[in-house]
Each structure stands twice: as C-alpha cells, then as structure tokens.
Amino acid sequence: MGGTNKSTVEERKKTAWADWGYRLLPVLSILLLILSWHLASSNSPDSFPTIQATWERFLLLWEKPIMRVSYPGHILASLKRVCIALFFSWLIGISFGIIIGWNRKMDAFFGTIFAFIRPIPPIAWIPLITIWFGIDEFPKILIVFIGAVMPVVINTHAGLSSVEQLYLNVGTAFNANRFQMLFEVAIPSALPSIFAGIRTSTSTAWMVVLAAEMLGAKSGVGFLVVRGMDGLDMPLVLVAMITIGVIGALLAAVTNFMERRLCPWMSIR
C-alpha cells in the first residue's frame, strides 16, 4: 500500500513538472522568435529592420500620412474594398451555390461553366480587369469579389448536394412543399458547409485585396507594402505586414463570432 502511495506522489510531482514545462514552452518559443528577429536584423539592418526601427516607423506612421492618407485611413480603405466585395460574393455566391447544389440539371449546365473558370487564380484576373476597368475602386472590388465568391459557391454547392436523405424524409413525412423543403430543411442543414465557405472567402478576400493593392493602388495596406519596397523603407514594409496579419486575424475572429451567433447549435458539444 505504502509503495503505491509513494509512487503516485512521485508521479504527481513528475506531472507537475511536466505541466510547468508545458506552460513555459510557448513563452520560450515566442522569446526565440523575437530573439531570431533581433539577431537577423542586427546582422543586416538594411534588409531586415530591427525591432526598434520597426516600432519607431510605426509611431511615425501615425503622425505622418502617406499619400495624404493616414494610417487608419489606409486600413479602412482596404477594409472597405473587402467588405463590399464580401457582401456581394456572399449574396451571389450563396444564391448560385444553392441553385447548382439543389438542382442537378442546373449543376450540369452552369456548374460545368463554373468548373472551367474556377481553377484560374483570382490574382491572374488582375491584369485583364485593369485593362477593362483601369485601376479605380471598382476593378479592385471586382477582383476581390472573384476571389471570394469561389469558395462560397464551392462550399454551398457541396452542402446542398449532400443534404442527408433522412432530413428530406422527415420533410416528406410531414408534407413539406418544395419551398419549405429548400428553406426549412435543405439550406439549414447545409449551413455548416456554407459557413466554411464564408470563412475561407474572408481570408481569401484579405489576401486578394492585398495583391490588388500591391499591383496598383494609391491607398490600402497593400499599397503601404509596395511603397515601403519602392522607397527601400523596410521598416514600413514590416509595419504593413504586421498590420495585415493583425487585421487578418481580426477578420477571422469576426467571422467566427458571426457564425456562433447565427448558428448557435453548431457550437454545442
């Protein structure tokens, strides 16, 4: 008896140590990341700005606008493009996805056309669209729209074409008409899939807006990156990159929040 007791005490001690180790590891890894940044930048400060230089550039950016647009102004410019494009891509993407996901004939006809256009990466559309519409706001929004609509259509289509027969049977047994079957049974059951598409579209949109701004714009965070590159202002590039990362993470968080609010049953476990 005593022996077993002792060993459990020892084991507990051991796991307590392991716990501490596990708690320390993340701190250690972040420290390592910062340290490697520091080392890399102190070796060649021209190509990789130091932490301090980046921080100072960040503070300067708040005071001194670039191209007469303030730092928050650039962020808002990008966000505006993304939001408008996302709104339309969700509206159109979900509707189109429902049509081709629910009706097999529609899928055969329109789905095939879509399948042929789909493999073209959104960024590859940029030159053609700039030839068509110049480099105004509209073409940028259009490019982001093209990027964001694809995952929405794909996921909505997948969700609707694989509605469980069981739910459809329930609908039939309770005499649902076509309309009720689609809106009360099929679409809700496809919501998890539709939301997966929405999540992907948000991150794609953020990436594409960046590319569109890098290839020709006068505002936006992507413009800041290119501006930094052209002016050999590497700290600015880094500030822009970090901004992009933070905003991207925030967008993802907002999408998750929206999903939890709109589909409460999905997070019950």
């Binding site: 890894s29 990789f48 004939k105 055969a108 960024i123 590039v237 880094l238």
Partner: protein, 271 residues
C-alpha cells in the same frame, strides 16, 4: 440515393434523368459559354481591345509554342519556368510541413512550442512576404520558391495537425493494450488515420501555391506564366493575358486531378 428517385422529382431537384442527359447538359453549357463569348466579339458588342475571341486564343496557343513575342519566351519555356518554381516550393512545403503538423498533433511538447510561432506567422498572407524576400534573395528561383513554400506550408501543417488529432481513441487504446510504444502508435495508427485530412491539406496547399505563384511572378520575375500575363498587360494584349490565364487554370486543374488519383491510391482503404 438512386432508389429514392422513383417519385418523379417532387422537390425540383432535377434528379432521376438518364446519365447522358447530364453529360449533354454539361457539354451544352460549355458550348453556350464559348458561343456567347465569340458572338459578343463578332457582333462588336464588346471591342477586341478588351477581350479576344476563343478561336483567336486557340490560334495564339499554337503560335505561342514557337513565338517569343511579346514577353520574351515561348509558352513551353514560360510554363516550365513556372512549374520549376511551383514544384520546388510545394515539395519543400509538403516535406517539412506534413511531418511538423503530425508531430505537433501527437506530441504535446512540440505542440506547445511550435503553435505560438505558427499562430503569429499564420495570418500574414504569403504575398506580403514578397518585398522582404526580394531584398533577401533577389528575384530568382530561390526567392519565388520561398514565397510558394510559405503559401503551401501552412495548410500542410494545419491539416495534418487536425488529422492526427482526430485519431480515434479506441484505435489508440487497442494498440496500447497490445503493448505498442508511443512512437509505434504514432507511426502505425496516428499517421495512417491522419492521411485523409493531410491530403485535403495538400490539395489546399496546391491551390494556394499555384495562385501565389502568379502573384510572385507578377511582382518579381523575368519569365513564367504570371510574367507573361503581366507583359500582356504592359503591351495591352488581352489575347496574351487570356492565354496565360487559360494555361494557368488548365495546369492547376490538371495537378488537382493528378493529386486526386494519388489520394485514392494512398487512402484507398477509406472507400
């Protein structure tokens, strides 16, 4: 599925037709698309300064096999240049990303150590690395391959991580009661059951790599399909742009298809 179809399409789902009806509809869809496109140009509704005819594109495709203008390389050479970059980056990403994801998913220590770094770097889109990469590595193969690597690495890690985390507890317990060591279980149980998710990740990685490639070649290159598109824009040649887009799209679809065949081979037990 098919047994439920008897009732003549009460839900308006367009089901229950003979398979060839759907094939015909698919073909009709594509033909209509091409026809409308051609018609818009022939009738002059859309000017050919903005877009070129499908027939012209086809002729250009043949001509471009030997013609170097206007971007300085023939189509096969541009394709090869792009492929080299994409394959280098993608293979590197798979070779490093998948094992890292698997290890992170299985060993708690590795998870705690790598996850934070990963969470910090993940939200930064690979495209925004381009300027830094140019400064570090120039605009050669290495620079572009690095950016592609970055784009493909993340889905590889995420999916293999998630895949191995979903290993069924029962299977692990079976292996444990048979006296297998942790590493053996990882190797014999964890990895195989993570394979379907891993492949899904590789598929995403492939798509990311291919679309980032275009961006990389537009911002920093002197050959490749992305560069060809960019030159098409500089010379205001919509036909060159569209040919580039078609080639990129077709190659992307081709790779996805090949990957699908591989996937079936390796995860065939899943049915």
């Amino acid at each position: 599925m098919e047994r439920k179809i008897r009732n003549k399409d009460p839900l308006g789902r367009g089901l229950g037709c003979h398979p060839y009806v759907y094939t015909m509809l698919s073909i009709a869809g594509i033909l209509t698309f091409l026809f409308v496109w051609q018609l818009l140009l022939v009738t002059g509704v859309v000017s050919d300064r903005y877009i070129s005819k499908p027939t012209e594109l086809f002729l250009l495709l043949i001509r471009k096999f030997s013609d170097k203008s206007p971007d300085g390389s023939t189509l096969p050479i541009a394709t090869l240049a792009s492929l080299k970059v994409a394959v280098t980056g993608l293979v590197l990403a798979i070779v490093t990303g998948v094992p890292l994801g698997l290890i992170m998913g299985w060993y708690k220590g590795a998870d705690r150590f790598f996850s934070p770094i990963f969470e910090v770097l993940r939200p930064i889109p690979p495209i925004s690395w381009i300027p830094l990469t140019i400064v570090w590595l120039g605009i050669g193969l290495r620079a572009k391959a690095f950016i592609i690597f970055f784009a493909a690495f993340i889905p590889c890690v995420i999916n293999s991580y998630a895949g191995i985390k979903m290993t069924q507890k029962v299977l692990i317990n079976v292996a444990k009661t048979c006296g297998a060591s942790n590493f053996t279980i990882f190797y014999k149980v964890g990895i195989p059951s993570a394979m379907p998710m891993t492949f899904a990740g590789i598929r995403v990685a492939l798509g990311n790599a291919w679309s980032t490639l275009v961006a990389a070649e537009m911002l920093a290159a002197n050959a490749g399909l992305g560069y060809m598109i960019l030159m098409g824009r500089s010379f205001a040649r919509p036909d060159i742009i569209m040919l580039g887009m078609v080639c990129i799209g077709a190659l992307g679809a081709l790779f996805t298809g090949i990957l699908g065949i591989f996937e079936k081979r390796i995860t065939g037990w899943r049915r």
